[in-house]
Amino acid sequence: LAAAALWDVLGILLGGAELLFDGVKEHHVTLPSQSEPWNMKQLLVWIGQNLLKERPELFVQGDDVRPGILVLINDADWELMGQLDYELQDKDNVVFISTLHGG
C-alpha cells in the first residue's frame, strides 16, 4: 500500500460552489505523495491552497467545510464515512454541493 504514493481524486463542485473555482465544476487532482494516507482534513487544506480562486471563507471555515455545503464521498454522504477523518483512497470521488441560497 505504501507504494501507491499518489492519490488521484476527482472533485466535483455543484450548486454554486463552483463559482469560487473559476466556474470549473470538475477537478481531476493528483495529490502529492506523503507518508500517511491523505484524509479529508488535509484535502480541504490542500484545496484551499491550490484550487480555490477567491473568497476562501465562503468554502472553508476553520478546518471544516463551510456549513451548508454538503460533501459526498463516492456518492455517499460523508457523515457515514467519518467526515474529516476519512482516509482517501486512490480514485476516490469527492463531491461538494452548496445548499446555500445564492450558492
Binding site: 450548486g15 454554486g16 456549513p67 454522504d77 457515514l80 445548499t99
Partner: protein, 513 residues
C-alpha cells in the same frame, strides 16, 4: 429545544464514527448512502421512495389543488424548484402511484438585469432554462423582470372569490373529474398547439433598454442589500401572480424548502414582518384571493433536495442571485441563513424545530368579509399591521424613534403618520421644516405626484422604503395604485361627517370612489 441535554449530549460528544458499511435503516439490506438526521440513514432506493412519497402526501393531505386545475410552477432554476418540477413531472407520469391530476405550467423570471449581466449572458441563461423546460413538455413562460414595469395596478388588489366549504368542493371536484375524464386524461402533452404558441410569445423577449435602466435605477436607489432583497421579493411576487392571472392559472407553486422557510421565519422576525409570519411560511398562502400560492417542498430540507438532485440526476441550472458570493453579514437574510445553517451542524434538529414552530402560528384576525376587509399593504399585500391603538408597540417604536431624533433633526415629526399629510412621505426626512412646507405647496400644484406611500405600507415594507433614497423609480403600477388609495381615503375623510356609521369602510363609499 428544551430537552437539549437529554437529546444531544451523547450525540455531540461522540460524532458518528460509523463505517461505510452501515446498512439502510428502512430495508436493512442495502448499504446506506446518506444520513437524513442522526440515527436515520437510508440507501438510494429507500431515499427515493421516501422523497416521492413525501411530495404526493403533501399535496394529498392538503387537498388544495383540484384535479384538472391549472397550476403554475415558479421555477428559478435552483435545486429546490427544479426538484419540485421533477416531482410534478414524475407524478403526472402514466405509471405513477397516486397520480397527480392537475395541469402544470412553468414560469421563470429572469433577474439578470439586477446583476448587471450583459444581454448575451442573459440570453444564454434563458436558453439553458428554455431547453430544461422544453424537456418537460409543459407550457412555459420565460419572463424578464423588466415586465414588472408593465403590470396593471389591479395586481395589488386581491381578487375575492366566493368560496364554499373547501372540503366539500374538493370532493365534488374529484368526483366530477373521475366521471368526466377517463378518456382524455390530463396529459400535459395534449396541449401541444397551445404550447408552441406560448413559447413563441415568451421568446427571450425584446427587452427595451430603457426598462432595464429604469429597473437598475430603482435598485441603485436602495441603500442596503436587505432592502434590495425584500424589494426584489415583492416585485417578483407581483409578477408571478400577474402572470398566473393573465395565463389563467389558479394556483401558484413555489419551491421554498424547509431550510429556506426556517431562515425566512427568523429573518422575517428581524425584518419586522412578525404579523405576516403565519401566511409567509404556511403551506397555503391565500393573500392574493383568486391565486393561491402553495409550497409543496416545505417538508424537505435543503440537504435532502440537493442529494436527491445529485443522486437521481435532476437537471438544474445554477443562477447567481443578489446574495451570490456575498459575506455573511451583507444582509439580514444572509446572516440569518448562515446562523441557522451553522447551528444545524451541531444541533441537527434546529431547522425542523424552527419550522415546526412556524407551523403552529396563526393569524389572529382573518376576516373573509369583503366589505369590511382590513386594509392591505401596498407591497406585500398582507393586512396592515400599522393600524393599531395608541398603546401598541408600533406607536411606542414611532415615539421612541421621534425622541431619539429630537437632538439631530427637529423635523423628524414628519415621520408620524398624522403629520405626514403635510407633505409626501417620499420627501427626505432629513430636511428642515421650510423644505417640507415648500414641498407641500408644490405638491398641491402637482396634484397626485406625491403621496403618503408609507401610510399604505406595513411596518416592514416601510422599513424597506426608508432604505431607499428616492421612490421616483418605483414601477408605475405601484405609484398609481398608491395615488388611487390616497384619493379614496381623502374623499372618505372629506365626507366623513355625512357618514352614518363611524366605520369608514361603509360600502357606499367604496362604490363611489
Amino acid at each position: 429545544m428544551c430537552q437539549v441535554d437529554e437529546e444531544y449530549n451523547g450525540l455531540l460528544e461522540s460524532p458518528v464514527a460509523s463505517s461505510a458499511t452501515k446498512k439502510c435503516n428502512k430495508c436493512k439490506e442495502t448499504t446506506a448512502a446518506l444520513v437524513l438526521k442522526p440515527g436515520e440513514s437510508l440507501c438510494r432506493g429507500c431515499f427515493k421512495e421516501h422523497f416521492v412519497h413525501k411530495f404526493r402526501a403533501m399535496l394529498g393531505k392538503n387537498r388544495i389543488i383540484f384535479p384538472g386545475e391549472k397550476v403554475l410552477l415558479a421555477v428559478s432554476g435552483g435545486s429546490s424548484s427544479c426538484a419540485m418540477l421533477n416531482q410534478v413531472q414524475e407524478g403526472l407520469g402514466q405509471n405513477a402511484h397516486k397520480k397527480l391530476r392537475f395541469k402544470p405550467g412553468i414560469v421563470y423570471i429572469d433577474e439578470g438585469c439586477l446583476l448587471g449581466q450583459s444581454t448575451e449572458k442573459r440570453q444564454k441563461t434563458m436558453a439553458q432554462i428554455n431547453s430544461l423546460f422544453k424537456m418537460t413538455g409543459f407550457p412555459h413562460h420565460i419572463i424578464p423582470l423588466e415586465m414588472v414595469l408593465n403590470l396593471p395596478p389591479s395586481v395589488l388588489e386581491p381578487v375575492h372569490l366566493a368560496t364554499d366549504d373547501p372540503a366539500g368542493s374538493y370532493k365534488e371536484a374529484v368526483d366530477h373529474f373521475m366521471q368526466s375524464s377517463p378518456v382524455h386524461s390530463v396529459d400535459p402533452r395534449v396541449d401541444r398547439s397551445e404550447l408552441s404558441a406560448l413559447t413563441d410569445a415568451t421568446n427571450p423577449q425584446l427587452i427595451a433598454e430603457a426598462q432595464t435602466q429604469t429597473l437598475q435605477e430603482l435598485f441603485s436607489r436602495v441603500k442596503t442589500l436587505t432592502a434590495k432583497e425584500d424589494l426584489l421579493h415583492t416585485l417578483r411576487r407581483h409578477l408571478l401572480v400577474s402572470t398566473a392571472r393573465t395565463e389563467g392559472y389558479s394556483k401558484l407553486m413555489l419551491g421554498e424548502n424547509c431550510t429556506r422557510l426556517a431562515v425566512k421565519l427568523l429573518a422575517n422576525i428581524a425584518l419586522g414582518r412578525g404579523a405576516q409570519l403565519a401566511v409567509d411560511t404556511a403551506f397555503c398562502d391565500p393573500r392574493y384571493g383568486d391565486i393561491v400560492a402553495v409550497k409543496p417542498m416545505r417538508d424537505y430540507t435543503a440537504k435532502e433536495i440537493s442529494l436527491y438532485n445529485y443522486m437521481w440526476n435532476v437537471p438544474y441550472v445554477f443562477i447567481p442571485s443578489l446574495e451570490t458570493k456575498t459575506a455573511d453579514k451583507s444582509s439580514i437574510q444572509r446572516l440569518t441563513e448562515s446562523f441557522v445553517v451553522k447551528l444545524q451542524v451541531d444541533f441537527p434538529s434546529t431547522v425542523s424545530t424552527i419550522y415546526r414552530t412556524g407551523e403552529k402560528l396563526q393569524t389572529a384576525s382573518v376576516t373573509e368579509d369583503i366589505e369590511r376587509a382590513p386594509l392591505k399593504c401596498l407591497f406585500c399585500m398582507c393586512t396592515l399591521d400599522t393600524a393599531l391603538g395608541e398603546t401598541s408597540a408600533f406607536q411606542a417604536t414611532l415615539i421612541s424613534e421621534q425622541l431619539s431624533n429630537v437632538g439631530t433633526t427637529p423635523m423628524q415629526a414628519s415621520l408620524r403618520p398624522d403629520t405626514q399629510t403635510k407633505c409626501g412621505a417620499p420627501c427626505d426626512q432629513q430636511d428642515g421644516e421650510e423644505h417640507c412646507q415648500a414641498q407641500a405647496v408644490c405638491c398641491s400644484h402637482k396634484g397626485g405626484d406625491s403621496m403618503n406611500l408609507e401610510s399604505l405600507l406595513c411596518y416592514s415594507c416601510q422599513q424597506t422604503v426608508k432604505d431607499m433614497t428616492s421612490v421616483e423609480f418605483l414601477p408605475q403600477y405601484i405609484m398609481s395604485e398608491a395615488q388611487r388609495r390616497n384619493r379614496r381615503s381623502q374623499i372618505r375623510h372629506e365626507i366623513s361627517e355625512f357618514l352614518l356609521t363611524e366605520d369608514g369602510d361603509s360600502p357606499s363609499i367604496k362604490a363611489d370612489s
